[in-house]
């Protein structure tokens, strides 16, 4: 431990490359928030506290538990947690947090720990859609309202949980396909950099993309699908192999920005020119949007992580006794050459 402290102490005199960078990277809450794609709560099925069971309470005096699925180490998770924490602070709500570090078993016990610690309301960013039975049972027994963000859980809305707030991953895949079709002109060989195997984000983003390509642009052929595990390094090494064994590749669809940036690296390393291979990615991080500006990336579909305001608003409405929508699908924007420069500051 002496070693650890000494190591930690050394950070006192660090000096990284460009200090201004850190200001830029700081999450910007200002413009943030999310917009609901289907704003009228009445259009979809709704939920009220009477239907769900439980009692009304005042959000201000309540304790909210937030279970994050992955380490706050990628821009998406950082922005997500920060947004929730900021909103809780703004509203003066007591927030308990737990982080499952990408281990599903840990997330289950995390949530149960949160309940045991006295959380009255839960916001969960699930690591996986299935396997929530134990948590749901405990929550149901105590009538604890649950809102899941960014990923849905496979259970009955308004019975097992109150509502889901997040993007439609299949839809994201479809929109990415549209971008790809536009960028490539609908013809040629393309590749997909998949996310981690066994992850339903991967599954849905692939499904949406592949379906849309089949429908709209039969001229595009997916000739290569390999996992880049949502990581830049893996995306880079897979792409390096890809461009050597399939030199004629026209486009690469990366299921998150990091892998897309890895692909950019690989293309640069192989001496390709910007724009020679069209890259479409999903997430909307600052680096990726900058990639559009620089000409390496053709389009980025946004997946907005700033769930804080919407989540707390939903909880507030719900606990007051009013009705909330079961599926709150948010409207994700997209970045293309047209708006990348101007919207760069909106990226996280």
């Amino acid at each position: 431990t002496g070693l650890l402290t000494s190591l930690v102490l050394t950070t006192g005199c660090t000096k990284s490359e460009d200090s201004s960078d850190s200001d830029k990277a700081a999450p910007q809450q200002g413009d943030s928030g999310q917009q609901v794609a289907s704003p009228s709560a009445g259009s979809g099925p709704a939920c009220t506290i009477d239907a769900y069971g439980g009692e009304k309470l005042d959000l201000k005096s309540a304790t909210v538990g937030f279970s994050q699925s992955e380490k706050e180490a990628n821009p998406f998770r950082i922005a997500e947690t920060a947004s929730i924490e900021a909103e809780a602070k703004k509203r003066g709500v007591k927030l308990l947090t737990a982080n499952a570090q990408s281990q599903f078993s840990k997330q289950i016990s995390d949530v149960q720990d949160l309940i045991a610690k006295g959380a009255d309301l839960l916001v969960i960013a699930p690591l996986n859609s299935d396997g929530w039975e134990p948590v749901l049972r405990t929550a149901a027994a105590k009538h604890i309202p649950i809102v899941t963000v960014d990923r849905k859980i496979n259970a009955t809305a308004c019975k097992d949980y109150v509502s889901f707030i997040g993007s439609d991953f299949v839809e994201q895949g479809k929109r990415a396909a549209d971008e790809m079709i536009e960028a490539t002109g609908g013809k040629g060989d393309i590749a997909i950099l998949l996310g981690s195997a066994g992850n339903n984000v991967t599954t849905e983003r692939t499904k949406g993309f592949v379906d849309r390509i089949k429908d709209k642009a039969p001229g595009l052929k997916v000739v290569f699908q390999q996992t880049g595990e949502f990581a830049r390094e893996k995306g880079q090494s897979v792409t390096e192999n890809l461009i050597q064994s399939k030199p004629g590749i026209k486009g690469i669809y990366a299921e998150n920005d990091e892998m897309g940036l890895g692909a950019v690296n690989a293309l640069k390393g192989a001496g390709k020119k910007a724009g020679a291979v069209k890259i479409v990615t999903i997430d909307g991080t600052r680096n990726a949007v900058q990639g559009i500006v620089d000409g390496w990336i053709s389009g980025v579909i946004e997946s907005n992580p700033r769930f804080g305001p919407l989540a707390f608003q939903t909880l507030d409405t719900f606990t007051k006794g009013s009705e909330v929508a079961q599926d709150i699908v948010i409207k994700d924007s997209a970045y293309t050459e047209a708006n990348a420069q101007s919207d760069l500051d909106k990226a996280y």
């Binding site: 070693l3 650890l4 000494s6 190591l7 930690v8 050394t10 950070t11 660090t14 000096k15 990284s16 490359e17 460009d18 200090s19 960078d21 990277a25 380490k71 706050e72 180490a73 990628n74 821009p75 950082i78 195997a197 000739v223 290569f224 699908q225 390999q226 996992t227 595990e229 990581a231 830049r232 390094e233 893996k234 880079q236 090494s237 897979v238 390096e240 192999n241 890809l242 050597q244 064994s245 399939k246 030199p247 990091e258 940036l261 890895g262 690296n265 640069k268 390393g269 192989a270 680096n287």
Partner: protein, 320 residues
């Protein structure tokens, strides 16, 4: 007469088995190369070989340190996390210029190695657990220092990652130089001999007056330093510091490379040539599977089969 030829045949078979045991890895590498020559499009190109060499370099460097640790009948699970830590430190200190940052990063790796070594040598903690603890802690530390991915724009680092001499990338040159250095240390220095003796029989080495603790500490420090170097090179190649995912599962790849290369986990023996070949074998295998666009399920099963096959071929045959 017949008996003679029989005996002859037997000896030949023995020799063949011995050859297989000694050089099985190289055979495996050759087989994979041949397969790719025959069935993989665009495989035979300088560019491709360069890519493969560059991709294997970090694993190889980590495996060199791992081979030393394994030679002492230990293991170092913390290498992947050390890579992450080194990338964090690198990024944090890049403001002082690339050399200073590299020094700090390597120093960080050495520190973790020293901690490993102290736990193992002075406190007698089993290497696998000691390094497991530091694996968890070092990764955490890396993330504390640098919570998220950060781009590296230093021209020196970029050059390190993508530059070359006469067409041979710096990364590959460094890896080769380190492999030669480690091989030299193992073969020709007192330290190397002592390391092997300690790995073979710790009590005997202790009674023979060898500086057991010092050797162990130096071994783990070397492993940490090499892992840190690998982390720096990986960072330079990626032109970004990514402490979350850099080096995850690296310990397993490195151990696999070492063991597939014919270094027994029971210590007392270190084969650097084999380790290099082992790393190359794993690299070629993944490349082959990626190039043929096989799904992850296949990739994992194929790796399992190849690992077992390689180790099976190189196994110590019974004395019976």
């Amino acid at each position: 007469m017949t008996e003679l030829t029989l005996a002859q045949g037997r000896v030949d078979r023995d020799r063949l088995l011995r050859l297989l045991q000694e050089y099985g890895v190289y055979g495996g590498v050759a087989a994979l190369l041949l397969f790719n020559f025959a069935f993989t499009d665009h495989f035979v190109s300088a560019e491709n070989f360069r890519t493969q060499a560059v991709q294997v370099a970090p694993v190889l460097i980590v495996a060199l340190g791992m081979a030393l640790a394994i030679g002492t009948e230990g293991v170092d699970l913390s290498v992947g996390s050390v890579m992450a830590l080194s990338t964090s430190l690198l990024s944090l200190y890049l403001g002082y210029g690339p050399w200073a940052a590299v020094l700090v990063a390597v120093a960080g790796g050495i520190l973790i190695g020293l901690a490993n070594g102290a736990l193992v040598a002075h406190l007698g903690v089993q290497p696998i657990v000691a390094t497991l603890a530091l694996m968890v802690a070092a990764r955490g530390l890396a993330l504390v220092l640098l919570p998220q991915l950060k781009d590296v724009r230093d021209p020196g680092m970029t050059a390190l990652g993508s530059g070359d001499v006469l067409g041979v990338p710096y990364l590959v040159l460094i890896a080769v130089a380190l492999a030669l250095l480690v091989a030299f240390v193992v073969r020709r220095t007192t330290f190397g001999r002592q390391l092997l003796a300690i790995g073979d029989s710790r009590p005997a080495a202790r009674l023979a007056g060898l500086p057991v603790r010092r050797v162990l500490i130096v071994v783990y420090a070397c492993s940490g330093a090499l892992a840190a170097v690998a982390g720096i090179l990986a960072t330079a190649r990626l032109t970004a510091s990514d402490p979350t995912s850099l080096g995850t599962l690296m310990e397993l790849s490195a151990i696999t490379a070492v063991v597939v290369g014919g270094t027994p986990l029971s210590g007392g023996r270190v084969r650097i040539g084999g380790t290099v070949a082992g790393a190359v074998l794993i690299q070629l295998l993944t490349t082959t599977l990626v190039k043929h666009d096989l799904p992850p399920s296949w990739t994992q099963m194929a790796q399992a089969v190849v690992i077992v096959g390689a180790v099976y071929a190189a196994r110590e045959r019974g004395k019976r």
